[in-house]
Structures are given as C-alpha cells and as structure tokens.
C-alpha cells in the first residue's frame, strides 16, 4: 500500500472522531410530532390489576399477551409492562404495574389468563426477582438455580456474588408457589415437577434434535411423554443487559447473534424501532432492500427448517437437498453483505452497503431454481407416506391454545390464527406488494410444515414483485455521529422467520438504551412444547420440535 493511500485511510478513519460530538447534541432538537412507535403504558394499581386484565381479555378480546417486560425504574420501583394485542380488532393496550418493595417484590400473576405468562413471568422473576402471586412454578428459567441476586436490576452486583462455580448444577424436582392469604401474609406452597417414580430422560443440553443447547427434562411412560420441563439458558449471553451499556449502533451487532436464521429480520426490527423513535427518515430504496432481504432470509430459514426436520425424521438425503438450495441464498448474501450467516446488513438509517451489481441477476436466477427445489421437496419428503404418517395428527395445537401461548408465525397460523405482522400492521415495503397470509386450520405438525413451504412460495412472489422495482436513492441516510433516542417507551415488531419479533425500547434520552427487551420468537414455542407433546411418543417429540422450529440463541438471548 502506498504512503498516500495509507494517509487517505487514516484521514477517513479519523474523520468521524474529528467531528466534535459536543456540537450536535442529538436530543436537543426534538421534533414536535410524536414518534410513530411510541407507547404510553397505562398505570394500574396492584389491587385492581387482575380484574383489569381479565376485563381486557374477555371484553376487549385481547387474545394475545405479546410481551411482559420486567423493568427496574430505580427510585420508582420494580415492575412490569404488559403488551396486549387483540389480533381480531388490531387494538393494542399497554399496562404498567409497579411495586416499590425492592426486598420482597410481589405482583399478581396473569398466568391463569394467558398461558404464555407462565414463562414470561419466570423470566421476570429470574432477572428482577419479582415473585408472582399465584404462579404455580416460580423457578429460575435461564440462570442456575443457585444463582445469587437478580442480574437485570440496576444495583445488582452480579460478578461479586457469582464467582465461577466448579460444582454441578443440580436441578430441583420441586418448585414454589406464592399466594397471598386473606390476612395479607404470604403462603409458600411446594409444587412437584417430577416425582421420584417418574422415568425421566434428559433430551439435551447436547442432543442432535434440540437444534442447539437446550435442555428438556422428559418424563416417560414407556415411550409416551408424560411431561416436559424445559431448562433454558445454556447459551444465555446477557444480550439485554449488555445492551444497556452499549450505544445504539453497538446494540445492532448482537441481534444477528440471537436468531441466526432471522438475522436480517431481527436487526430490521431494532433499526426500525430506533429510526422511528429518533425520527430518522429512511429512503424508499432502503425499505425495498430490507423487504427483499427479509424475504430471502425467510426462505433461507424455512429451507433450513425443512432440512432439519428431514434430518430429525431420518431422511438424510432430503436434508442435503435443502442445503443445496440454501447455498444459493447464502451466496447472494455473501456478495452484497460479506456475511453468510451473521449478515450485519441493516444499519440505523439504512443498510451498510449498496446492493452488489450482480444482486438482481442472481436473485432472478435463484427464483426458478427454488421453485424447482420445492417440487423436489414434495417428491422426496412431504408426500412420502412415512413422513405423512409421522406428521399428520401429531402434536395438535388448537386455535385457542396457540392464542393463549402466543405461538406466532407459521406455527400459529397452522392452527388458524391470523397473526401475520406483515398483513396486520404493514411495515417497510410490504404495503406495496401482493401476497397471501398462509393459514391452515389443522394445527398438526404436517400443517406447520406445509405452511412454511407455502410461505416460501409467497416470499418468492414478494421478491419477484420487488426485484425489478428497486427505487433509486440513497442506501444510507446520514445520521448524527452519536445517536440519541428521546425519552420515552417504544415498541415495534416485524414478522420474523418463526413469528413475531418485537423490540421494546425504553430510553432516558441517552446514547444507550435504558432497557431494551426483545420479544423472542422462540420462547413461546418452547413453552408450547409441553402441551404439544403430551401423550405423544418420544419419536413424535422430534417431529413436534422440528415443526415448531425454534432457534435456541433467540430463546436464551
């Protein structure tokens, strides 16, 4: 490299640093219009909380508890924000619940109303130490059972309290339930998870079918499953805690490492949240590019879903057919973004690079090949009599169950639940294209498989409509060197490969978020495993977790 070039690069590198950050305080110029995605949670007192939630569920038809975000507001207290969504009317409601007791915080449970609250409340308990009254199973879900303290609290001394442990983690077979007695005292009841008579098999943490380090404790009766107890957190990296110390551009890097098969989608969601909150305009070109990338990613994910399902069911050849086709998508990604799995493409205000000159050509070549590939999938696996016998009628989830457990995405739509975010509340360029929401009503594993195959066709159709109509414009809106989001609470969501991926952001006007919480697409799916697998054979468990299609790093975060 010549000296001149070197100097040039140095100059480029030092350029952002040279811009005096102090001269442009981002929060100084707050526009008058409210951010599109800002939410105003309604405060509810602890006493009237449960009746209010019951009313919302039954009268306002809030069938989906989207998210429970635990928060530590320091002097204001600990608490939760509940995101409710009526998928029928499209109405959303945000409820805020606060307790000032930091020593022994108790809040009423809603796990009797929405089953999904079961795992969400355990997550809040794990990280904030809020105990939910009436919740039947107050155990930690991500951290070790002998963990000291609650790491997401702002004053927790995590590292001092928790030196590296050299002992095995013993999992308890019992759990605690807290109830408030009429006289105001707290009663502790011990509930049994597994009795000593249960024939228990560990599926995971190292197991070929859990698609990652996930641990199911399974009680068997012969080969029939009596109960499944998921133990999560084997690859928990504390992404949400890390985010609180990172600047906004830095937080982006971690999203690709959660759901690695929905990397662009989750990053899209985070970028969108920050852009809307900080009122950064995004060009039409970027919107279209993001839409195409999201759909490519969705096809990529669904191919891998198909492949892994085949592998789980012992159809090894079909497994590699999927990988053959996926390679084409990865090559397209690689050419434009440089990455294949961890793509790092979306940035706040746009995307990192403009599309590669070959991009359109490659994508156009890919579409017919993929259609041919889907035909082959039908021939080798989907229409195979053994596969049909193993999938039809296995692991049935009813419409009511999927709503209750927040099973979104193709899995939920297999049970007749219309929940496609792309249709319900359009974002990016989805309002410009025509596509169908794929819904089936059987609710079994086969419907979940077919749903994803049909979604691949729909995605191809979306890409076809956009690929020749990418508008001209900038691929990257200029943003301030230090991005600050105005004080407020924001929520945005996208349709990820396996369901709704939401980003909950609370900002105090700083350059890093006060709380950044993700609605994981996989966590509700894991929660649904117990219900879906009950009384099925152990071989069916592989079919069920294959078709529910969760990705473990996304569950653990």
């Amino acid at each position: 490299m010549s000296e001149l070039e070197e100097k040039k690069i140095q100059a480029q590198q030092s350029a952002p640093a040279a811009t005096p950050a102090a001269t442009c305080p981002a929060a100084a110029a707050v526009p008058a219009a409210p951010a599109e995605n800002e939410i105003h949670p309604r405060m509810v007192t602890i006493d009237e909380f449960h009746t209010e939630m019951e009313r919302l569920k039954n009268e306002e038809k809030m069938d989906m508890l989207e998210l429970i975000t635990g928060e530590d507001w320091q002097e204001e207290g600990l608490g939760c924000i509940y995101n409710l969504w009526s998928t029928d009317t499209g109405k959303r409601e945000y409820i805020k619940l606060v307790t000032t007791d930091r020593e022994n915080p108790f809040l009423p449970t809603v796990s009797d109303l929405w089953e999904i609250a079961n795992i969400y409340e355990r997550e809040v308990f794990d990280f904030y130490g809020i105990k939910f009254l009436g919740h039947p199973d107050m155990r930690r879900v991500f951290l070790r059972e002998d963990w000291e303290g609650y790491p997401m609290r702002k004053d927790d001394e995590t590292e001092q309290n928790n030196p590296l442990r050299m002992t095995n983690e013993v999992l308890a077979d019992t759990t605690t339930q807290y109830d408030r007695m009429p006289d105001g005292s707290i009663k502790e009841t011990t509930n049994v998870v597994f009795t000593p008579e249960d024939y228990m098999v560990n599926i995971g943490p190292q197991h070929p079918s859990t698609h990652g380090v996930l641990h199911f404790r399974v009680a068997l009766e012969g080969e029939r499953i009596k109960k499944i107890d998921p133990k999560l957190g084997y690859i928990h990296r504390g992404i949400e805690k890390l985010n609180e110390a990172y600047t906004y551009p830095q937080t982006l890097a971690l999203t690709d490492r959660m759901d690695y098969l929905g990397a662009t989608q989750s990053r899209h969601a985070l970028c969108m949240t920050i852009e809307k909150a900080a009122r950064i305009e995004v060009s039409d070109r970027v919107q279209v590019i993001r839409t195409i990338m999201d759909e490519l990613q969705r096809i990529d994910s669904h191919i891998l879903f198909f492949s892994c399902l085949c592998q789980d069911m012992g159809a090894t050849s079909a497994f590699l057919y999927g990988f053959r086709d996926r390679e084409m998508i990865l090559d397209i990604f690689e050419e434009t973004c440089g990455g294949r799995l961890i793509i790092n493409y979306n940035m706040i205000g746009g995307v990192s690079h403009d599309l590669h000159p070959n991009f359109q050509k490659r994508v156009k070549e890919f579409i017919p090949k993929m259609r041919q590939g889907i035909k082959e999938y039908y021939d080798i696996f989907i229409n195979n009599v053994i596969a049909r016998n193993r999938l039809i009628g296995v692991g049935v989830l009813t419409n009511e169950q999927v709503r209750n457990m927040g099973v979104t995405g193709p899995s939920g739509r297999a049970s007749g639940w219309h929940n496609d975010i792309r249709k319900r509340q359009s974002y990016a360029a989805y309002d410009k294209v025509e596509f169908n929401e794929v819904v089936r009503t059987e609710g079994d594993s086969y419907a979940r498989l077919l749903n994803r195959i049909d979604e691949m066709e729909e995605s191809l159709h979306i890409i076809e409509q956009l690929i020749d109509n990418i508008p001209e414009g900038t691929f990257q809106t200029k943003t301030k060197p230090i991005i600050k989001v105005p004080t407020g609470t924001y929520y945005s969501c996208v349709e990820g490969s396996r369901g709704e991926f939401g980003v909950f952001l609370e900002s105090k006007g700083d350059k890093s978020p006060y709380r950044l919480h993700y609605r994981s697409t996989g966590l509700p799916l894991v929660n649904a495993m117990d219900v879906a697998c009950r009384n099925e054979l152990i071989a069916d468990m592989m079919a069920i977790n294959g078709t529910l299609d969760y990705v473990v790093p996304d569950i653990d975060r």
Binding site: V201, T316, L320, A387, A539
Partner: protein, 365 residues
C-alpha cells in the same frame, strides 16, 4: 451345465489329500480349520472396509455430494484411516455399568454376524458351513445378535441405550419372523435346506426368482424390507434412532467396542444381501437364458465368486437406495407394518408357494 473349471471342491480335496500324506488326518483338519477361519476373518474385514467406502460414495451420490475424496485417490484410504483411528481410541468404561454384560455384548453381536457370514456359498464348493439344515442354522445364529443388543442396553445402565435396545428387541424379533417365513417359502420351492444344494439347484434349473415367479417375487420384496429392518438400517434404524436416542443401544460404547457394532452393522447388511442373492438370484450360478446356448457358454466362463459378489452388490445398492430415501418410521408403525402386513402376506405367500409347487406351476428353465 459346465462350470467345473471353477469348482473349488477339486482344489479343496487336492489340498486335503496332499496334507494327509504328511500329517495325521485330525491335525490336517485342525490346520485347515484354522486357515479357513483366518480367511473368513480377513474377508470379513475386507468386505467391511469395501462396504463402508461404498456406502459413503453411494449415499453421497444420492445426496448430490462427492463423498470422501481427500485421503488417497478418490478417498480410497479414508476408511483405512477411520479404522486406524477406531483402533487407537480408548475403550471407556462407565462406573455404574454392568461390566460383564457391557463388555460381552459387542463380541456376541460380532460373533453372530461372523457365524452367518460363514454360511455364505461363495462359489461351487466354496462354502464353509454347509449341512442339511443350513437355512435353519442361518436363522438361528442370526438371532444371537439380538441377545447382544439387549445385553448392551441392559449393561450400559443408561436410559437411551435402554430404550434403544428395547426397541431393537421388539423390532428384530418381529422381523425375524418375516425373514424366516420368506426363507421357508424358498425352501418349499427347492425342497432342501442345504444352502449349497439350493444354489446347485438354481444353477441346474434356473434362478429361484424366475422359477417361483409370483410368490418368489413377493418373497423377494418382503425379504428386502425385512432384511433392512433386521440390519437396523434406515428407515428402520430406530434402535439407533440418531435424532431421538443419540446412538441408541451403543451410546455408551467407545473405541473398538463401538467398532464391533459398526462392523457388524455393515456386515449384516452384506450378509442380508448375500443371502437374498443366494436364495433368490441363484448365488454363484451364472446367468443363463434358455435357448441362447452361445451366450450361456460365455457366462459360464465368469467365475462363480464374481457372480455371487456381483449379485450381492446389486442388492446392496437396492438396500442403500431404500436406506437413503425414506424417513425413519416410528416404533408403532414399524410393528404394525410387520404384524399387520408383512407377516400375514408372507404366510399367505408361503401357502401360495406350496400350491405352486404341488400343482407344478413353477417355470422350469
């Protein structure tokens, strides 16, 4: 029928006569037995290596891949490398396992497989174990393998092997019935249980699959399905059921103990294919077409062992095709396939064959 030039009997008798000139007959027989045993074990190992290589290449072909291609020309040395690795690996013993059962099990499995291997008629006069109830003997010794698998499951004191071996027990015992009945169907056609006699008859009168036409064809298909199940091969590989039970009954084995299971699995596949070629496709009998005397004469100049191995590999490809195409069945589907379909069909087929034989409906070439 003139294939005497390849008749091994002349050779073996000559060697025996030559030996008895120098040493007493009992020691000559002892010496011969040892030599034959060594040959069998060597062949066993050689075929295992050939099969592993073949399986990897065939499976790669089905999966749009290349397969091993780095170690040696076309990856030929890959399997030797794998075997060497296996030999150098430590045999890990679990603290709470039943040491006796756990260590004995792989030897039982491999012994059963070697005994059945010894039944194969390689050539005219080229069979080792050959007596008047050869087919019975074959079925009986192949059953020992199940004991080994059950012992592995019990002795490992672990849950995956336990479930795997119970599945194996249920599956192997069920499918042995179909195998037995289909073999008896062919015995009905031949009227003898001596394996060398069965092949000789086919060399003289035409292959069984032609001679027995419809019932033989049905029996052949059932044998292929049940044979794959007997070998624990996909789509019937659920005793191993990799995605469910990690490795099934041999989860807790390592080193050469695991290697024995691996070896036995491949050789059982070979034996299954070889048995199918023996009783259906005429073993070492060359291909003869009635009326084409010149063609038949040329066929006679191909040695019997080439015919036998060639037919066996043809069936092997069929079995591998089956293995690499279908998804795995579920245990209840496997058992209902056997007890509700295969076994009744093979019983009826046996009856049909008996009718064909008594009414003289068979085709005589």
């Amino acid at each position: 029928m003139n294939s005497n030039i390849f008749d091994l009997t002349t050779w073996t008798t000559a060697i025996h006569d030559w030996l008895t000139e120098f040493i007493p007959e009992w020691s000559a027989i002892l010496l011969e037995s040892i030599v034959v045993a060594l040959i069998i074990i060597t062949l066993y190992a050689v075929f295992a290596i050939a099969l592993i290589y073949m399986e990897r290449k065939v499976c790669a072909f089905f999966q749009c891949r290349i397969g091993p291609n780095r170690v040696g020309k076309w990856g030929l040395l890959q399997v030797f490398g794998d075997v060497f690795k296996m030999l150098t690996k430590e045999i890990i013993r679990m603290r709470k396992s039943d040491r006796f059962l756990h260590d004995l099990a792989p030897y039982l499995v491999v012994t059963a497989s070697m005994l059945t291997f010894a039944c194969l008629p390689w050539n005219k006069g080229g069979q080792v174990l050959d007596f008047n109830v050869g087919v019975f003997f074959f079925i009986a010794v192949s059953g020992i393998g199940v004991v080994g698998i059950l012992m592995a499951g019990l002795g490992s004191n672990s849950k995956y092997p336990m479930i795997g071996s119970m599945r194996a027990g249920a599956q192997l015992i069920s499918y042995e019935i179909s195998i037995g009945i289909t073999m008896l169907t062919m015995v009905t056609l031949c009227g003898t249980m001596q394996i060398s006699e069965i092949v000789q008859q086919q060399a003289d009168q035409g292959w069984n699959i032609v001679r027995g036409h419809i019932p033989a064809l049905i029996a052949f298909l059932i044998f292929l399905i049940a044979g794959n199940a007997e070998c624990n091969r996909g789509p019937f590989d659920l005793p191993e059921g990799e995605s469910e039970l990690t490795a099934g009954y041999h989860t807790e084995y390592s080193g050469m103990h695991f290697g024995y299971y691996y070896l036995a699995e491949y050789l059982n596949l070979f034996i299954c294919a070889a048995m199918a070629s023996t009783i259906f496709l005429g073993g070492w009998a060359p291909l003869h077409i009635a009326g084409l005397d010149g063609f038949n004469e040329v066929m006679n100049y191909i040695p019997g062992v080439v015919w036998f191995v060639g037919k066996t590999f043809f069936i092997l490809v069929l079995l591998l095709w089956e293995r690499w195409t279908f998804p795995r069945l579920r245990i209840d589907h496997i058992l209902s396939l056997e007890w509700k379909y295969l076994m009744p069909i093979s019983l009826l087929n046996l009856l049909l064959m008996a009718l064909v034989v008594t009414l003289g409906l068979g085709i005589n070439v």
